[in-house]
């Protein structure tokens, strides 16, 4: 299969070489192949236990881990919306709107870094950033930790799982991370096909797969078991339309520039999300975002870091047209150029993308234990 893949790729390269300006970079055929997804890595300092996972599950759904006790992890990572949020920009904390699309939690366990520009190095670090950000959970450690102490079931669980005399907020994030490592999907039609179940993909999906690995060259970045190289590219996603239409989105846009510590000159004139630049402060990183996984995408529309594309067909058409335009054109990836797919090929490719998703993952929302007064130790 690997050999065939290479041959297809070479013919795709031959096609695009005829186009002006850019040729495919050398070594493009070294991409790791698509592969079935195994078990997620478990960090040595946060092993999985059933009790910890169950605690994490409750905390994931508990809005008391947020500023005004209204916004849980599950508010923006809603299982009914693909464990993300079905709008271009995530809903954000009350009184705000977020500025990026909410990513699915499904299979987040496999990512080396979290968030659209890899700002968190682990799920344990992603959770507090989300719970505390002003346009996300807007919580503070002291209030959130204090609240946990007044829920007897949590006191008991933190003591049993972590040995905490009183629940420590840092351990809440560890428990949530453990729960998230159970939200995985390893038996999609594609997984089954790659494990040898040939009928798991339809004829159309197989044609789509050939395009994916060949003419459309998706495999260049969407490769390996997670269908992502976890690298950063500017593919020309246009700015979010809501920055022009929605006052709350305009407020948050400026807030993000301010909070991320850009220069005043950039703060004044930037009108798009500079992506990886906020982490590295290197001009060549402007407009770059991490390649997202294609797994579970059947349920996670809209797509791209700002939700600019509303269904998978739009996504394929976007690439087929050679990407879009944003104000960081100087960093546009040379891999992005018109693909020359016809309508049938677009349909085939979309059909194949659907094979990256199995059935929807749903669960019963846990019943959350109530606050109780703390007994006075002097009595």
């Amino acid at each position: 299969m690997l050999k065939g893949h290479k041959e297809t790729l070479i013919s795709a390269v031959a096609l695009v070489v005829a186009l002006p300006l850019f040729a495919a970079p050398a070594g493009a055929d070294n991409n790791p192949p698509l592969a079935p997804l195994g078990d997620p890595p478990i960090p040595a300092d946060n092993p999985q236990t059933p009790e910890k996972i169950e605690l994490g599950r409750m905390l994931f759904f508990d809005p008391r881990l947020g500023g005004d006790a209204s916004t849980a992890c599950s508010s923006c990572h809603n299982q009914e919306q693909g464990w993300g949020f079905s709008d271009d920009l995530s809903r954000g904390y009350p009184g705000t709107v977020h500025w990026r699309n909410s990513q699915t939690v499904i299979n987040s366990a496999y990512y080396g870094k979290l968030f659209w520009v890899g700002a968190a190095s682990s799920l344990e670090r992603q959770a507090p950033s989300a719970a505390k950000g002003a346009v996300a959970g807007n919580g503070e450690n002291d209030v959130m930790e204090a609240r946990l102490a007044f829920i007897p079931e949590y006191r008991e669980a933190f003591r049993s799982v972590f040995g905490d005399e009183w629940p420590k907020i840092g351990n809440a994030w560890r428990a949530i991370a453990s729960f998230e490592r159970t939200l995985v999907q390893t038996d999609t039609p594609l997984d089954r096909y790659l494990r040898g179940e040939e009928e798991a993909l339809s004829e159309q999906q197989l044609r789509g797969k050939a395009l994916f690995e060949g003419k459309a060259n998706c495999i260049e970045c969407h490769n390996g078991p997670m269908a992502t190289d976890e690298r950063y590219y500017n593919i020309g996603v246009p700015p979010a339309p809501r920055w022009e239409e929605d006052a709350l989105a305009q407020i948050t846009f400026r807030y993000e520039q301010y909070a991320k510590g850009v220069t005043e000159e950039l703060y004044r004139f930037i009108k798009d999300d500079a992506g990886l630049y906020y982490r590295t402060k290197q001009k060549e990183d402007m407009g770059k975002f991490r390649t997202p996984s294609l797994r579970y995408t059947l349920y996670t529309a809209p797509y791209m870091h700002n939700g600019a594309l509303w269904d998978l067909t739009e996504v394929v058409e976007f690439y087929n047209n050679g990407g879009g335009e944003n104000e960081f054109g100087h960093n546009l990836s040379p891999l992005i150029r018109p693909l020359g797919l016809n309508d049938d090929e677009i349909e085939d490719l979309v059909a194949f993308l659907e094979a990256f998703s199995g059935p929807e993952i749903r669960m019963t929302v846990p019943e959350l234990p109530a606050y109780q007064p703390l007994p006075d130790p002097a009595e």
Binding site: A69, T96, E140, T252
Partner: protein
Amino acid sequence: MIRIEFRGLLKIGVTAAVGMMAALVPGAAEDFGPVPQIETNAAQVELGRRLFFDKRLSGDAAISCASCHDPARGFADGLPLSAAYPGSLGFRNTPTLINTAHRAAWFHDGRLGSNLNDVTREMITEDYMMNMDMRLMQERFKQDPVYVEMFEAAGYGEPSNGGARKAIPEFLKTLISRNSAFDRGELSPSEQSGFTIFAGVAGCGTCHSGPRFTDDRVYNTGVPDNPEIWRNPMRHTTFVAYAMFMGIENFMNIRRDPGAHVRGHAADGSDVGTFLTPTLRELTHTGPYMHNGVFATLEEVIDFYDAGGGDDPNKDRRLMPLGLSKQQRTDLVAFLRALSGDPLTGPEFVWQDPIPTEYDVIDDWRETPN
């Protein structure tokens, strides 16, 4: 990061407060004059007044300064314990903001002794108060054309956190007691008798001195605990968050508000349970009383002092049973009521126009510098 800044300021604040206190030696009866008015900048006051009533200054845009500091309730809230930010409830009584600009230290524990700029920041950013990231607040202001004009008119340039932290104190400077019977010199015989007792045998004037009837110092009078704080997890969690942040030892096990111990941290604990002397101005508008709202009426307060205060190992030794007669107690209450002036509820104190809860879109966004 806001917190770190606060820690640094606290030290400076305490030093400044101590300096000011030295000048505020308990005054004689003739020192209890009207509270001096403060000169202000009209445009800055106007901006501060709008900000004060604007709910968009809180994290989830649910509460404004005026939610707890209600002009109709003497810029307090009429509750024993304050409401706080949604998701939390307070563990102390909301103090009046009338005459607050003359104070030497703020909050019942006096933990800020610098200026109202700091107090404003503390209230807006504290997670159980308004829970606002001020960077986001600034961008909300910039989205409101009315603020863009008002900040400019106030001389603050474009809308900013710094401007807001100046304008709100400027507005607070206008909240000065006026026209009480005491200030007009029109005390009834009973009120006059109450004043004599106040400044004389009852010794109230020892601490409740000066035009605001407070020396801005802290004392332990043995005010009884308010068990509601510990009974209600929504309040107790707030106390724990506060105690954790203020570096109070053993905070999960204590069931008593340590008060100004947070600013002195006396090693022998002798400052535990001390609280700032509150002003006696505007009491008719600002009950319930004490740092924890444990007394609903002024009669209860007078009875408390008549009995020599409460029960506390650190209680100030000067508090002794007073042995006041019923008439003396009645006169004292009458005098205290005579220290309340006109309610500050006119348009110069209350923002009149509706404040939008939504924002205008910047239409030519791409061409407008941020």
